[in-house]
């Protein structure tokens, strides 16, 4: 009796080949905000979301990494295999498989469907992106396809509003009748002849149920003719990266000025309203100067993500991997490593997780080791601050901004550092003669969906604001405390901060950092930078704000320009290219490699690189008269 009253709950799993739109479908069905992109291997972990059907069923939908078969060649494919086969100890096997196929590209998908049928769970085949298939003139006879495969078939367009209505009503029907229909699994890891037979069967089904257009779509081919051109293609890739970093500077400027002015105004307001004393200092110097100096960088981070999201949705990433394969191969990296490394420009954490698509252990480990060298978005605040304070804003050769050029150079330093380290690792530490194959599906170009881009940007903005509100804020409180206590002893001269704990720590580290030109204020800023790199900027903001006293509202960039030599600034930039910072990255390395020693190895090599790079930069700059 109670069972009838209580809503029934089911567990449905989304399975399909990479880039078939599982995550877009998952988002459409559960109103969730997972990351979607037009390249294979976006989902590297399983994610669950709730779906309520019209008849009141509760369905836990599990989004799984894309796979070509259940063989489990790489860590992400193993997740899919284990969930589909019901081998995960902590959870129930799925009640139904929602098998997602790209309607414009059925050959590979149907072979997977034929393999999945052997697992024995009830199945529903979802022909996703049906709108594109229809527009191209691909005519799919749904009834016939369903009859030939012996699996119910439904069409959907995950990215359109209302594109999933038919699917939802079928899910509702299946939820009513799904119980107890599974049969015993006859799945076994497919052999070469199994795969061959399954592909032939899939081709036969396609021949009988699908008619291809007489005039095939040639848009992708024509675009690729330019973008994959041996010379033009590489130049375009370089230009794209270059424009991206110029835009990060140029487009963000007005917005950043606005935010900075807002915080300045807020600081003055607090200064005027609160009585002089500890509270005033805490709110103005600790909270507003600190957090404000990090929040200013939100526009730049969003512009960077806008580019990455657009390129992902467009389908350009697989092309970039194609162009870069041999170049990366020369440095001992796999072509597939390009995508994780490019994600690392946003943040090393998703980048390191994305290495799960690399099946060879050594290749994966090399990629993980060098991923933190890619210039992540948390470095942007540090780079921007120092560049805008020390590098004059002028044009080189008439049209290229010098500041953007230096920024580009810092990114290039990170990239070449990574290539060098991976080359050394591959040839001296992780020696392996067998190079695994590079095979990658190149998806057709698709116009980016405004909604998906907006959702992606929103998610990133919220993540950044959340970090600013939690990690960065608490670090700022700590820094303010260290910089404010103990108070100025009675009768002592000079700025109070010289007697603080922060000064003691910073000065204690000075013998170590003097050869690389760091003063004690920088030393203090480096410590909380371990929690999040951009905190270093906020810490400098707080330290100099407290030290500056009345001119606290003064912008931190101007303060630095007056207090540091150019050599110190350049050394700090060099340090930041390589420094092993951000504890969360180290934690992810520990988790993904399953070993403390690889984490310490990463920390160690990066620390040495950072110190050496800063040392050389500083000493050379001083010798050239920039000290």
């Amino acid at each position: 009796m109670t069972a009838a009253a209580a809503p029934m709950t089911w567990r449905f799993a989304l399975v399909g080949t990479p880039n078939s739109g599982k995550t877009a479908l998952f988002n459409a069905l559960t109103c969730s905000r997972q990351k979607v992109a037009n390249y294979p291997g976006v989902t590297v972990e399983r994610k669950a979301g709730l779906l309520h059907t019209v008849s009141g069923y509760h369905i836990t939908l599990v989004d799984l990494p894309g796979t070509y078969s259940l063989r489990g060649r790489s860590p992400d494919e193993e997740i899919t295999r284990d969930v589909v086969l019901g081998k995960v100890a902590s959870e129930n096997a799925p009640d139904l498989l929602l098998c997602v196929a790209d309607a414009t590209n059925l050959r590979i998908a149907l072979r997977l469907v034929i393999e999945l049928k052997r697992v024995g769970w009830p199945m529903l085949l979802v022909l996703n992106m049906i709108d594109i298939a229809r527009r191209r003139g691909i005519d799919i006879n749904i009834e016939k396809l369903s009859a030939e495969l012996g699996v119910p078939v439904v069409t959907s367009t995950a990215v359109r509003r209302g594109g999933t209505e038919e699917l939802l009503s079928r899910i509702d029907e299946l939820a009513t009748s799904a119980a107890g229909k599974s049969v015993a699994s006859t799945w076994a890891s497919p052999s070469v002849s199994d795969l061959r037979a399954a592909q032939r069967e899939a081709d036969r089904v396609i021949k009988s149920a699908v008619s291809e257009p007489k005039r095939p779509d040639t848009v992708t081919g024509r675009i690729d003719g330019v973008l994959l051109h041996p010379v033009a293609g590489l130049l375009i890739l370089l230009c794209l990266l270059f424009v991206m970093f110029q835009a990060v500077f140029a487009w963000a400027k007005p917005l950043m000025d606005l935010i900075a002015a807002g915080f300045e105004w807020l600081g003055v307001l607090v200064h005027d309203t609160l009585p002089e004393g500890l509270l005033q200092s805490f709110v103005q110097n600790g909270v507003i100067s600190g957090v404000g100096s990090v929040l200013v960088f939100l526009p730049q981070i969003l512009i960077l993500f806008l580019f990455i999201l657009l390129l992902e949705d467009l389908g350009y990433m697989a092309r970039a991997a194609f162009l870069m394969d041999r170049i990366m191969g020369g440095a001992g990296l796999h072509g597939r490593a390009f995508i994780p490394l490019l994600s690392s420009f946003a943040c090393a954490i998703p980048g390191i997780m994305a290495t799960r698509v690399i099946d060879n252990k050594r290749d994966r480990l090399t990629t993980i080791l060098v991923a933190p060298l890619m210039t992540c978005s948390a470095r942007i605040p540090v780079y921007t601050l120092i560049i805008s304070a020390f590098i004059p804003e002028r044009e080189v050769w008439g049209f290229i901004g010098l500041q953007g050029l230096v920024m580009f150079g810092l990114y290039a330093a990170g990239i070449f550092g990574a290539l060098g380290v991976s080359f050394l690792a591959k040839h001296f530490v992780l020696r392996d003669d067998a190079t695994p194959p590079f095979m990658l599906e190149m998806p057709d170009y698709k116009l980016p969906q405004l909604r998906s881009i907006a959702l992606g940007l929103y998610t990133r903005a919220m993540m950044f604001l959340q970090r600013a509100g939690t990690t960065i804020f608490s670090m700022m409180v700590l820094i303010w405390f260290l910089a404010s206590f103990p108070r100025l002893p009675a009768g002592a001269e000079g700025p109070a901060i010289d007697y603080s704990l922060a000064a003691m720590i910073g000065k204690w580290l000075e013998p170590l950092t003097a050869p690389i030109g760091f003063n004690w204020q920088i030393n203090v800023a480096l410590i909380p930078g371990m929690a999040a790199r951009e905190v270093a900027v906020a810490s400098l903001g707080t330290v100099y704000a407290i030290e500056g006293g009345k001119e606290a509202a003064e912008q931190i960039g101007q303060a630095l320009a007056g207090k540091w030599s150019l050599a110190t600034a350049l050394a700090l930039l060099a340090w930041y290219v390589f420094a092993p910072q951000c504890a969360s990255t180290l934690a992810v390395i520990k988790r993904e490699t399953g070993s403390w020693s690889w984490m310490f190895a990463t920390f160690g090599y990066m620390l040495v690189l950072a110190y050496v790079a800063a040392l050389i930069t500083y000493q050379v700059a001083v010798a050239l008269g920039a000290g």
Partner: protein
């Protein structure tokens, strides 16, 4: 004329890995054979099959990589796959 059909076929077969851009043909055999390819030969064969390289499928080399004309982008029936020439050696086409 009296020759058995297969031997004529065998003469025309070339590895896809040696073909140039613009080549069109049909897959005769997938055989990773004794080639010393990175992954084991059976594994290479399985991967090629998983991406739709199966006997009888039509292939066309659409693009070549910038360095050493490697990797290649191959149209297999209606899908484009990027792979290195080394693995494409296992695909014999006619």
């Amino acid at each position: 004329m009296a020759d058995p059909q297969p031997s004529v076929d065998a003469q025309e077969r070339t590895p896809l890995g040696l073909a140039e851009r613009g080549f069109r043909g049909r897959i005769a055999v997938i055989d990773a054979g004794a080639e010393t390819i990175g992954a084991s030969s059976a594994e290479t064969e399985r991967r090629l099959l998983e991406l739709g390289f199966v006997e009888g499928a039509t292939v066309e080399i659409l693009h070549e990589g910038p360095l050493g004309r490697d990797p290649i982008a191959v149209r297999v029936n209606n899908c484009t796959i990027a792979l290195r020439r080394r693995e494409a050696m296992a695909i014999l086409v006619s």
